[in-house]
């Protein structure tokens, strides 16, 4: 009997593991247990950067005012820049939602919580998609949902006044470079087709120098490098990222070299950010399933190794 069971298991062990993994994911979906999650340094870095946008804008205004009183060079240019900065005293967040449905389960919670954080603090948001046309509509629904559902010290957010969704344009390297010079050259209109100069919010935003933080939520390899090259190296603007867990190991060195202010690793990063903001959401909900699945996988790895040693001893 035992031999028959073992033979059946030998043929069907893959399916048994699938069923166990599905159970580990399905059962927690019915539970309402909240795990205690402590934000890691990388997550806290991005949270602090978003939290600090209004202070960064005040500091930028003060610095520019001091520069204007001391210098007579480029007076018109500096005055125009100062006027733009003063139009958004809470600062401006540029968020790029570079993912498609295949990585949306991991990255949607990240994008939502960053947007909610900005909206709760009254920070105007410019949202773009630079790398995939397939993600354009998905990104719009995320931005609109976050704006609609966020209740903070400020009113419900309105498109064009409190946030702008510019949608997708092809050729991301040139697009990001153009945004450094003039956003309206990269995006003549928003996603709905309204010219940028007709949008009240965009009167105070010309290029990346008018942006206090760039947050990139991406599921593509290669896209983060371009953002680092242009936003950090060329224009020296603060840059934070959220990405799929698969890619995190590749981009952690940029956190260490301070080229990134923060880095959210997959759904775990979203859960940590939600905890930091004290606003549990989709990320926190998914963590119980993660815990159960990881315990199962650790047990399976240990069992597999134990079986391997037992079989080797029996053979010898």
């Amino acid at each position: 009997m035992m031999t028959l069971v073992l033979r059946w298991f030998d043929c069907n062990y893959r399916r048994v593991i699938y069923v166990l993994v599905v159970l580990c994911v399905l059962v927690p979906a019915f539970l309402t247990v909240r795990l205690r999650i402590k934000p890691a340094g990388a997550t806290q870095g991005l949270y602090d950067a978003v939290e600090g946008i209004p202070a960064a804008r005040r500091a930028a205004i003060a610095k520019l005012e001091a520069e204007l009183t001391q210098s007579t060079n480029n007076h018109d240019k500096l005055t125009a820049h100062l006027q733009r900065l003063r139009m958004h005293t809470n600062g401006v967040l540029l968020i790029s939602l570079d993912f498609d449905p295949s990585s949306a389960p991991e990255l949607t919670p990240q994008a939502e919580i960053i947007l909610r954080h900005a909206f709760m603090r009254g920070i105007p948001v410019v949202a773009v998609v630079v790398s995939t046309p397939v993600g354009a509509q998905l990104a719009q629904s995320i931005v609109d949902r976050a704006a609609r559902e966020t209740q903070g010290r400020y009113d419900i957010k309105l498109a064009g006044r409190d946030y702008v969704y510019l949608g997708y344009r092809p050729g991301y390297f040139n697009l990001i470079l153009q945004m450094g010079e003039d956003i309206s050259r990269a995006y003549a209109t928003d996603y709905a087709g309204t010219p940028l100069h007709d949008l009240p919010m965009m009167q105070g935003i010309k290029n990346l120098n008018d942006i206090d933080l760039v947050a990139v939520v991406t599921g593509f390899v290669g896209v983060p490098e371009t953002w680092i090259q242009v936003v950090k190296t060329k224009y020296n603007r603060p840059l934070g990222m959220g990405m799929t867990a698969v890619s995190v190991a590749d981009y952690t060195p940029y956190l260490h070299s301070k080229q990134l202010v923060g880095l959210l690793p997959g759904m775990r990063g979203a859960a940590e950010y939600e905890m930091a903001l004290d606003a549990p959401g989709a990320g926190t909900r998914g963590m119980l399933a993660q815990l159960a699945s990881h315990v199962l996988i650790i047990v399976l790895i240990a069992l597999g190794n134990a079986l391997f040693f037992v079989q080797r001893r029996n053979r010898s």
């Binding site: 399916r15 979906a29 498609d100 344009r169 092809p170 190296t233 070299s257 080229q259 699945s293």
Partner: protein, 236 residues
């Protein structure tokens, strides 16, 4: 979450049934999985083409050109230069299509060379600055870290481990010298250990990513498909 209309409900049902068709591959390869795969590829490509046209070619080329042609008698010399530049650019772009003809495929090298030239010209200084100089700068760190005059053991050990990792991995990939002496072999083994730690971290993160995808899909099936349908028909 309850679907707001019957069309929403139909959309949820289509998404749920397609998800189940994909999961059926776990049992064994079957026709339902293949149909779903084909639908996914077809929809993605079709959607991508339409959006690329709407977001790229139409607003950036077609609309300005039509406007230029309609009002060409009012245009300045600079506008004519712009039009000529656009025509040349479009012509170079069209050469890409020559790849469909085996005899004329060589023409596609011109747009490729054009793009590679631009890419290297713009990208090389930024790449060297971002990925070589900045990373080297991040490696120039003190071995002994002092905080408020006292030795910070944790930070010091962290920095030593980082430096040891960088040098041992670089040495492992240094194939020009035969590593036969014990010192070289030990350094290479340390490099291999660092690489293994890196691969282990990547594997664990990959597991986390895949579980996240499964978890979100299961959550969708539970919340939007089963509970959403029951709520829509007032059964829950």
């Amino acid at each position: 979450m309850m679907p707001e209309s019957f069309m929403d409900l139909a959309g949820v049902w289509i998404a749920a049934l397609l998800s189940l068709c994909v999961f059926s591959f776990l049992f064994k390869d079957n026709i339902l999985f293949k149909i779903t795969e084909a639908i996914f590829v077809g929809v993605s490509v079709g959607y991508g083409i339409v959006l690329s046209w709407n977001a790229g070619l139409h607003p950036k080329v077609v609309v300005p050109f039509m406007e230029f042609i309609r009002n060409y008698h009012d245009k300045s010399r600079a506008d004519f230069f712009w039009a000529a530049y656009m025509v040349v650019s479009l012509g170079i772009g069209v050469l890409y299509l020559s790849r469909f003809s085996p005899r004329q495929a060589w023409l596609s090298r011109f747009p490729m060379a054009y793009l590679m030239g631009i890419g290297i010209g713009i990208g090389m200084p930024l790449t060297i600055q971002s990925f070589i100089f900045e990373q080297m700068r991040a490696t120039l760190i003190p071995i002994v870290v002092k905080t408020n005059g006292a030795l910070d053991w944790a930070a010091s050990l962290g920095n030593i481990a980082l430096l040891a990792g960088v040098f041992s991995v670089l040495y492992y990939f240094f194939f020009s010298v035969k590593k036969s002496d014990p010192v070289s072999q030990t350094v290479s083994r340390v490099g291999i250990a660092y690489l293994m730690l890196g691969f282990g971290a990547s594997f664990a993160l990959t597991v986390m990513a895949r579980i996240s995808l499964l978890s979100a899909r299961v959550q969708f099936l539970k919340d939007e498909w089963v509970e959403g349908t029951l709520r829509y028909f007032n059964l829950l």
